[in-house]
């Protein structure tokens, strides 16, 4: 019988420890800051912030720290979410925010708080940002993943990865590089001066009823589409690049310098769309709704591939006026 009591005692101890262990793991006991908070982090740390409403501004800097500033004295908890117990600087932190009068315990994954927030992060940081109503403005970081329901997303100098998603706001990106994925349902998308960093980088821009405008891209893989908006791309084509542009009821326009070389496959709906080109294309296939041909003097391997389609709009290949 002694043995059975021993077993029961050990089990009771285990079960008694479990909730405490879980609570400690979640870090629910950490004190909170108000209005302003700063923590030292790894220079390539991942920083996450999700708020219910309000604008988020992020700036990259040379400092290996995350500084959070709230416009209206919100409760701030910068919580380390990588492996605890290490002596090194955190590689992953979650910024949790709630309103000053909100006394509920904050936990990772929740999106609360409704103040404007400014984040200063290391230049090599990756940031995950979500807001419901506010704008997102991110400058000079390595990687950004931004979501806003109705706000605009403005991104600049993102060096490696960009992912931005808005339902009704506009999305813009400039002076950036690497992999890019931009989407807005009703808003417009603009991307300019975006370059490739690695060979398999791409830029994808999709919208339902907004317009897509791409300018001065130095990217070998480009995809842009809109259901009812216009798609425009301006600039030179990358050597051997692959461009896929399309719209259902909008127009697609490519404005390129005369020196480009490309193979084009242009498709429109029969009796519905049209193809207009300034370039003397050497056609290999030409029908009411389809044009396949080449243009340029480069060798075959250097041709860029243009796969462009419009269902009921106009597809234009325009020469850029020098």
């Amino acid at each position: 019988m002694k043995s059975s009591f021993l077993i029961v005692a050990i089990l009771l101890v285990c079960f008694a420890c479990a909730p405490e262990t879980l609570a400690r793991r979640r870090g629910d006991t950490k004190p909170l800051q108000r209005g302003d908070s700063t923590v030292q982090v790894d220079p390539t740390a991942t920083v996450s912030l999700c708020i219910e409403s309000g604008s988020i501004t992020v700036r990259g800097s040379d400092r290996a720290e995350v500084r959070v500033h709230s416009s209206d004295n919100a409760r701030i908890d910068v919580r380390r979410s990588d492996a605890k117990g290490t002596q090194s600087a955190p590689t992953r932190v979650d910024v949790l925010m709630s309103d000053p009068d909100d006394n509920r315990v904050m936990s990772i994954g929740e999106c609360r708080g409704s103040s404007d927030v400014r984040l200063d992060v290391p230049r090599g940081a990756t940031v995950y940002l979500t807001t419901r109503d506010g704008d997102l403005d991110v400058f000079d970081v390595a990687e950004v993943h931004a979501k806003s329901l109705s706000g605009n997303i403005i991104l600049s100098r993102i060096s490696k990865v960009t992912e931005a998603n808005s339902v009704s706001g506009d999305v813009s990106l400039e002076n950036s590089g690497g992999r890019v994925r931009l989407r807005s349902e009703s808003g417009n998308i603009e991307a300019s001066d975006v370059k490739t960093v690695e060979t398999n980088d791409f830029i994808i821009a999709n919208t339902t009823s907004g317009d897509v405008s791409l300018m001065r891209l130095n990217h070998p893989n480009v995809e842009a589409s809109s259901t009812s908006g216009n798609v425009t791309m301006t600039g030179a084509l990358a050597r051997g690049g692959h461009y896929e542009l399309g719209s259902m009821s909008g127009n697609v326009t490519l404005v390129m310098p005369e020196t480009v070389s490309f193979q084009v496959i242009a498709k429109v709906a029969p009796n519905s769309g049209e193809i207009v080109t300034d370039f003397p294309i050497k056609t290999s296939e030409f029908s009411q709704s389809r044009l396949v041909g080449t243009y340029g003097k480069a060798d075959a391997s250097s041709y860029a591939t243009l796969n462009v389609s419009v269902f009921s709009g106009t597809l234009r290949l325009r020469k850029k006026q020098m």
Binding site: L6, G109, L129, V167, H242, M248, K267, P270, S272, F311
Partner: protein, 308 residues
């Protein structure tokens, strides 16, 4: 009283020399006094001789001997006994098991058992903690690629542009190729009503729900409809979408746009069933709707999180 006749098996054993010396002696005496048994013995003997001569080594037919029969009977009896034991096995009794368990437990065994249980419990806690951590990790939460990329049926255009070696190589001067003049060339269609982006929507046919054309679906269309249906259910279940007029308005507006595109492309497919490009337009329109619904569902879910 006259003894009963010896059966065939015993006689055969007698001939084979398998009986015990006492029984051998008894059989020998009996066959002397019993004419019938003597006759049977002779017949058996002559049969043995006949078969032995005729078949020699090829056949070894032996009537079951007494020893073999005894062994078989014993084996059968043993088998039946075993079956009876199995059938009569008592049901499992928890208290009896517990008693036997405690009776067999030494303190050392109890400690070992408790240690194993403790390890299992700690492993379970660790698993729960790790699972909780994963679910709270923003990289999984925010950076997840919308499910639209996973629900796309195969006929859709590639979502990630990858240069195909075959496509990247321009066609080599086809025989039918014509060099076009370096002036502006307009491939404008005759008698075409040129749509403008501003009034394009008004020229498109009225919205036709996919259910209306479910009768004559194209290959792959069903997958799109299934994906769309599941996404619409997810969006309807989002309380946030129902309580946010602005989000609802955006959703309805864009939904109308993609539905119009589907209707228009579907009408074109109906006019030209064999045109692969038109079919591709239809699939693109479906994909637009899937993308729209995925985005809205994802955003609504995130938005709902903030309101919990």
């Amino acid at each position: 009283m006259k003894e009963m006749c010896i059966d065939e098996g015993v006689l055969q054993s007698y001939l084979d020399g398998e009986l015990s010396p006492e029984k051998m002696e008894w059989v020998a005496k009996h066959t002397v006094s019993c004419a019938a048994c003597a006759e049977s013995l002779r017949e058996a003997e002559s049969e043995n001789v006949f078969f032995a001569a005729a078949l020699a080594d090829d056949l070894n037919v032996a009537v079951p001997t007494e020893n073999l029969r005894t062994r078989l009977d014993a084996a059968i009896a043993e088998l039946r006994q075993t079956e009876n034991v199995v059938a009569q096995k008592p049901t499992w009794n928890f208290s009896a098991w517990l008693n036997s368990l405690f009776a067999s437990f030494t303190p050392q065994r109890a400690f070992a058992f408790a240690s194993i249980v403790a390890i299992i419990v700690f492993a379970a806690i660790f698993f729960v903690v790790m699972k909780d951590k994963r679910s709270a990790t923003p990289s999984n939460e925010v950076a997840r690629i919308p499910s639209s990329t996973t629900v796309s049926p195969t006929p859709v255009l590639n979502t990630t542009p990858q240069p195909s070696p075959s496509e990247a190589t321009p066609p080599k001067s086809p025989a039918s190729g014509t060099r076009m003049t370096p002036q502006r060339v307009n491939y404008r269609q005759q008698n075409r009503v040129r749509p403008k982006s501003s009034d394009a929507d008004s020229k498109l046919p009225e919205i036709v729900q996919p259910e209306q054309v479910a009768k004559d679906l194209l290959p792959g269309e069903k997958s799109y409809l299934k994906a769309i249906q599941s996404l619409e259910v997810a969006i309807k279940e989002s309380s946030d979408l129902n309580t946010s007029p602005a989000l609802r308005a955006e959703y309805e507006k864009n939904l109308a746009v993609v539905n119009q595109a589907i209707t228009a492309t579907r009408a074109a497919v109906k006019r030209q069933p064999g045109n692969a490009d038109t079919v591709e337009f239809l699939y693109t329109a479906y994909q637009s709707k899937v993308d729209l619904l995925s985005t809205v569902a994802d955003q609504a879910r995130l938005s709902a999180l903030s309101r919990e």
